[in-house]
């Protein structure tokens, strides 16, 4: 099934760059008795999602006081209130579709997560979270790419690392091959990938100078032919599963298709924007609620669509920072510090809010205004990488950071 070139390229890469990998490391990535891979799906909420109105600390008096018009009321008020999770935290009511996942134990939340760098710039903060090196701008590749680099795999397919985005995101850029596509259907050449034109182009890019375009050209032609053979388009969502319309819902639907087609996805990425609510953020209803409705529906659909396959999948969400605890003058919130993460999957210790809650008392706030970070985002990711994917070499994925299981928030069943 693998073309000779893919095989040579992958092994060549492994031998040249990383040395020969012990077989035991490779095996951990495969589920017991199956050709299926363990898969990680990363969803980036761009724009800095207001974690305090998503995983709502309704048990905290200061929360309501500091957000007089946008606080989500404590549970008990029916649909117009938070959905209680544990007596202290509640979910935004627009996330109701996630409640069954919470109850079945496949969905966990981590509160007060973030990147320790103090920046409140979207650009920098996203960059740091994608490079995996807060405060260091010179890092060339993304942590998801380094993860792939650190796990040489002679059987890797072109779809081992996939971004469902029109352009390759920072998080996946780097030396390891990765595919970016806005849509599976568009991933083909006019007249077919095996036609005359395709062969002409392929030749040109093969002989092109050794640069970015050359490498991308090779990856493109390999991936196109591989995708044609496996035809993921024939896997439609499971009965009764409806993804919300729009790019984000579509992208998760297509990740599910790729997984069902067994094209060898190990890491998948997508992003969803529209979280930068400086004005008219709203509470139970409003702009954030509308974004969350789509966000939650898509996650719930993804989980239901995958059914038993979810055993081999973990999906984790991230956002560049949280928002000010106090609402601003325009019924919105400004750039803050800590936010939240959701972790969804078969071996997730779900049904609970992980992480230490720092509280909202004035002396507990970061720089006197923002939710403090008690869990470094690399510890959430580190735990998922180690316990789900069996990744060993986390110092390569997060250079300069000593990932230690003692700091893991405990989102995965050990």
């Amino acid at each position: 099934m693998l073309t000779r070139r893919i095989f040579l390229k992958s092994t060549g890469l492994a031998l040249v760059s990383f040395g020969v990998a012990p077989k035991v490391l490779l095996r951990t990535a495969y589920a017991e008795g199956s050709r299926r891979r363990k898969t990680l799906v990363v969803v980036f909420q761009r724009g800095a999602c207001d974690g305090l109105n998503v995983v709502v600390p309704h048990g905290e008096e200061a929360y309501r006081r500091l957000r007089p018009t946008i606080a989500i009321p404590a549970p008990g008020g029916g649909r117009e209130a938070a959905l209680d999770l544990d007596g202290f935290f509640g979910l935004h009511p627009a996330l109701e579709p996630l409640l069954p996942l919470w109850k079945e134990g496949s969905l966990a939340a981590v509160q007060a997560v973030g990147s320790p760098d103090a920046t409140r710039s979207h650009f920098d903060a996203q960059d740091f979270m994608e490079s995996g090196t807060p405060g260091r701008k010179a890092t060339e590749d993304g942590w998801l790419n380094r993860l792939v680099q650190s796990r040489p795999d002679s059987e890797a397919t072109p779809f081992r690392a996939v971004a469902m985005t029109p352009t390759l995101p920072r998080i996946l850029s780097g030396r390891a091959p990765a595919v970016a596509m806005a849509n599976i259907r568009d991933f083909d050449l006019r007249g077919g990938g095996d036609g005359l034109a395709a062969r002409g182009f392929e030749q040109m890019y093969e002989t092109a100078t050794q640069d970015l375009l050359h490498g991308t050209g090779q990856e493109t032609f390999e991936a196109m032919q591989f995708l044609k053979k496996s035809d993921p388009g024939r896997y439609q969502p499971a009965a009764g599963v409806e993804y919300p319309r729009g790019r984000y819902g579509d992208s998760l639907k297509q990740v599910a298709q790729l997984l069902k087609a067994d094209v060898g996805v190990e890491v998948a990425f997508t992003d969803v924007g529209g979280w930068d609510h400086h004005a008219a953020e709203g509470g139970v209803q409003g702009q954030l609620a509308a974004r969350l409705r789509e966000f939650g529906q898509a996650l719930a659909a993804f989980r239901r669509d995958l059914g038993d396959r979810m055993q081999d999948v973990v999906l984790v969400t991230m956002t560049e920072f949280g928002r000010t605890v106090r609402e601003n003058g325009n019924r919105g919130t400004d750039h803050g510090h800590a936010s939240f993460a959701l972790v969804l999957g078969g071996d997730v210790r779900g049904g609970r809010v992980h992480g230490r809650w720092p509280g909202l008392a004035p002396d507990k706030l970061y720089e006197g205004r923002d939710l403090a970070i008690t869990t470094d985002f690399r510890d959430v990711l580190g735990e998922v990488l180690a316990r789900h994917l069996g990744a060993r070499d986390l110092s390569r994925v997060f250079p300069g950071y000593a990932v230690s299981s003692t700091r893991f928030p405990g989102v995965m069943r050990a």
């Binding site: 806005a182 040109m204 100078t209 008219a280």
Partner: protein, 517 residues
């Protein structure tokens, strides 16, 4: 014999065959070995200039530039007002909305308020049980009812903006002027998808950005600061001293007009507005100093206080207009970047703008960005230094800074040739130009640019689009480019008719060389 010294006649033939639309790789291989200037070199230098100061050569452009003389042509491009551009108007004639004011667009292209209300009521009626399909159907029916009162839809306004941008880049003789307009629109990005901004962008580009694109940077910065598009996009129009009287008071209300944008739930008491830091942060991080330009969170808050009261009249009705409202201005003294700013109403914002526009970090940040656009993803430091020096000496004269860069040895150096990968916009426009095609309707081309991840006027974050190769080289992006190359060559792009007398092959447009500029 040198490796690249293949038969001269073959090289010339290769150049001629590709219509001189890209610099052949064989020519690039000679970067290191200096050799006597040849006929080919002259052509390559011209293609380089056409690629960098514009959107690539059309058939005949190279010959034309050679006839005028390259230096003369560059000088002309630096003074666009001296270049006649008679053909462009005809290409833009069919676009009805691009000459209209924001007020006219709001009056004739915005969905009427009654329609919005009725749609909302209908949605509520259908309830949560209704499918997305039903909701959209209901909305479509209601829109039909109101459609004849409107001259067009909000979507058409955005489409025409996108079409105009493409047509100008394809057809204008003032190529460098188009590049600069694009550069500044991206630098001072606004997002047409945010509320009424789609009705403001046309005016913003036409009356705010373009008139200052070649002038003093400070004037451009001030013009954007006072523009309704920027005030709305980065929320400064809402920013107020938290201790100012409530904006729901009668007096304030008459000054601001009605505000459907921030609905007040029934029963909720009138409330005060407060400080919004969004613009204050971005003017420093993105518009002037750069993220490492030496400001702190405290500076952000202080700048936000200075800009309180910089707001506008009528954001959603009639003609939006800048307004300084002293009632919501924070009257205290401020300290910005170590400078004391005395309480002085609107002057405080003006002082901040002057302070930022003349700051050494700004000279450096803008010189770096311009050098990156014209020379290389990582521009030579010496060049950036010289450009920044020009910026300081000329008090931010944009033309002088651009001239320093494009007249530099670094710009002319063989190392700079084909060093940039085209963005999707640059690729699509240059492909249309190279093919000599007639573009009657640019919507399909705009759709291609969007599908490659660069929807025009629709970049949500204030960072604008990236100008470096790593952002635009991807597998799906490359496939989209190859498919456009195939479709253009086959005459299969709607609204674009190829020139049968000068066929350009898909292999040329899809080649690795053509992805570069």
């Amino acid at each position: 014999m040198r490796k690249n010294a293949i038969c001269p006649s073959r090289r010339a033939a290769a150049l001629a065959l590709s219509l001189v639309v890209a610099i052949p790789a064989a020519a690039l291989a000679s970067k290191k070995a200096p050799r006597p200037a040849t006929e080919d070199d002259a052509l390559i230098v011209i293609v380089h200039a056409l690629n960098r100061l514009g959107y690539g050569p059309r058939p005949g452009d190279v010959e034309r530039v050679r006839a005028i003389g390259l230096d003369e042509w560059i000088d002309e491009q630096l003074h666009p007002d001296r270049i006649p551009d008679p053909a462009l108007a005809a290409h833009l004639a069919s676009l009805r909305t691009i000459r209209l004011s924001t007020g006219d667009l709001l009056a004739h292209y915005e969905v009427p308020r009654e329609a919005k209300k009725e749609i909302q009521a209908r949605r509520a009626e259908l309830g949560d049980g209704a499918s997305e399909e039903q909701m959209r159907e209901a909305q479509r029916e209601l829109m039909q009812k109101y459609r004849d009162r409107m001259d067009g839809t909000p979507q058409e306004v955005v489409q025409e903006l996108q079409s105009a941008k493409i047509l100008r880049a394809v057809y204008s003789e003032r190529q460098l002027d188009e590049v600069m307009a694009d550069f500044w629109m991206n630098h001072f990005n606004v997002f047409a998808g945010k509320g009424p901004v789609k009705f403001m962008v046309g005016e913003y580009e036409r009356d705010v950005v373009r008139p200052h694109a070649w002038g003093k940077f400070e004037d451009l910065l001030r013009a954007t600061a006072e523009s309704p598009a920027m005030l709305f996009y980065l929320d400064n129009w809402l920013s107020a001293d938290p201790n100012a009287p409530s904006f729901n008071d009668r007096g304030a209300r008459s000054a601001f007009g009605r505000r459907p944008f921030v609905p007040r739930p029934a029963g909720e008491p009138a409330r005060k507005r407060g400080l919004n830091e969004n613009y204050a942060r971005e003017i420093m991080e993105l518009h002037t100093l750069g993220v490492d330009g030496g400001y702190t969170q405290k500076d952000v808050t202080e700048v936000a206080r200075c800009f309180t009261g910089w707001t506008m009249r009528n954001p959603r009705q009639s003609q939006p207009q800048f307004l300084f409202d002293e009632r919501i201005h924070d009257r205290g003294d401020k300290v910005v970047l170590g400078h004391r700013i005395r309480s002085g109403g609107k002057n405080e914002g003006d002082e901040v703008i002057h302070l930022l526009a003349t700051h050494p970090s700004t000279a450096r940040f803008l010189s770096y960005k311009l050098a990156r656009r014209f020379v290389a993803d990582e521009p030579p430091k010496a060049l950036v230094d010289r450009a920044a020096e020009t910026f300081r000496k000329t008090a931010g004269d944009i033309r002088a800074v651009v001239k320093t860069i494009v007249a530099s040895p670094e710009f002319a150096s063989p190392a700079a040739r084909a060093a940039k990968v085209k963005t999707p916009f640059e690729f699509v426009v240059s492909a249309a130009r190279a093919s000599g095609a007639e573009v009657d309707d640019a919507r399909a081309l705009a759709g291609r640019v969007a599908a490659m991840g660069m929807p025009l006027y629709l970049q949500q974050p204030p960072t604008g689009y990236k100008d470096t190769a790593d952002a635009w080289v991807s597998t799906s992006g490359l496939l989209a480019r190859l498919n456009l190359a195939l479709d253009l060559a086959a005459g299969k792009v709607r609204g674009v008719s190829a020139d049968p007398s000068r066929p350009v092959s898909a292999q040329t447009l899809g080649s690795p060389e053509f992805q570069r500029r």
